[in-house]
Amino acid sequence: MVRLITHNLLACHAKGCTSNNFPLQFQDAAIELRDAEFNADFLRGFLPRIEWTALVGAARQLGDTSLPAEQPEMLDDEFLQKLHHVLLEVHVEEGAMVCPNCKHVYPISNGIPNMLLAEHEIG
């Protein structure tokens, strides 16, 4: 159940991995689409917190090209619907996330990513 909204917040937290550790890259991702309730207010409030390029990159990796490369100025309904779909309705069920810096692999099984670190990786 990794949605892109959480993926967009997630950086690698292994020891010493402090730069270039975001966004995590998807590997062999199997996705599932599930309907979620549309809430325009929430999206408007959340938009400033989103790293836009990372979100578009992650969506493209998962084969969704509905979002424009540049964040649009106008927040019309059509755009919010697209954003809602990408952020909250695309679930990654299987696969892995790999840190672009230290190459740590966080496997995803059954929709739950395993974020546990080995003893020597704890900061």
Partner: protein, 286 residues
């Protein structure tokens, strides 16, 4: 019963059977629900705005279900895979992570509008190995610093936990303060043994004393009556009846006669004869 956190680490203690038991126990459900509502109250989120929350130690999603009902979006982390499996079965709405909070979070700064945690922090107070990263102060420091980073400014984190001593409270609050949090401990029903609940209420930002520590609930746990187990009243009534002496004696005259008849039929020797004295109640003579 000894405290579960002293028995085994959480990911082992909450195995498949314990996870199911925990989730299906109606009393635990009730207590968890009450504490979640109280934690939300203490979070004091602005009304009408859907917030994005972090549920630390979400377990099987008992608290997450309430967050769903209240219309919040949330992310849950837990270290016990069996509990997360139960959460998947229960189809909670939040995103779940298998994560050891003592290792810290990897969330970007300012990700969440708030954080709640129900009955979790006490699990961080035991060292599982002798490795330096496994000592409680190290794990607490890692937890609080990364949590502080992940919360937006201003916001709150409310963490309910079961401390065994004042030293533990002292340790936790001092480390939280070092991590940059304001706030402190809120105790509900401080004079009750059963209903007493300890909440660590932490603030991020909000300078100038705008954020004031809320008061704990006072009074004589009048909530108790609602919070107790089903059928407890009936059990109490029965017990009162027994005490008042109206209980029927099991071994009355009929019962004795029946038994004697049975023994005679079986040919047992030395069965006393029946008489007017059989099964007679003796006078209380001293």
């Amino acid at each position: 019963m000894s405290r579960p956190e002293l028995v085994a680490p959480p990911e082992i203690y909450y195995g498949d059977t314990e996870a199911k038991k925990y989730t299906n126990n109606s009393r635990i459900q009730q207590i968890q629900a009450d504490m979640t509502y109280r934690a939300l109250e203490l979070l004091n989120l602005p009304e009408g705005e859907p917030a994005f929350l972090l549920d630390i130690g979400c377990g099987s999603g008992l608290s997450g279900e309430i967050l769903d009902e209240e219309g919040y979006l949330w992310v849950g982390v837990d270290v016990a895979p069996s509990m997360l499996e139960v959460a998947l079965e229960r189809e909670v709405e939040g995103d779940l992570f298998l994560q050891d909070i003592g290792q810290g979070f990897g969330f970007r700064p300012g990700s969440f509008d708030g954080a709640i945690s129900i009955s979790v922090l006490q699990w961080l107070l035991n060292a599982e190995t002798s490795h330096p990263t496994s000592s409680p102060p190290h794990r607490l420091t890692r937890f609080f610093t990364t949590l502080h980073a992940a919360l937006k400014n201003p916001s709150r984190a409310v963490l309910q936990f079961y401390p065994t001593s004042d030293d533990q409270i002292q340790l936790i609050t001092s480390i939280a303060q070092k991590a940059g949090f304001g706030g402190g401990i809120v105790v509900d029903y401080p004079n009750s043994k059963k209903a007493r609940k300890v909440f660590l209420c932490l603030f991020v930002g909000g300078g100038g004393g705008q954020q004031q520590l809320p008061k704990g609930l006072e009074g004589e746990e009048n909530e108790e009556a609602e919070g107790r187990a089903l059928f407890e009243k009936r059990r109490e009534r029965l017990r009162a009846k027994e005490k008042s002496g109206k209980r029927k004696s099991l071994k009355d005259k009929d019962w004795i006669l029946k038994k004697k008849e049975l023994y005679r039929k079986r040919g047992k020797e030395g069965v006393p004869l029946d008489s007017k004295y059989t099964g007679r109640k003796r006078k209380a003579v001293f």
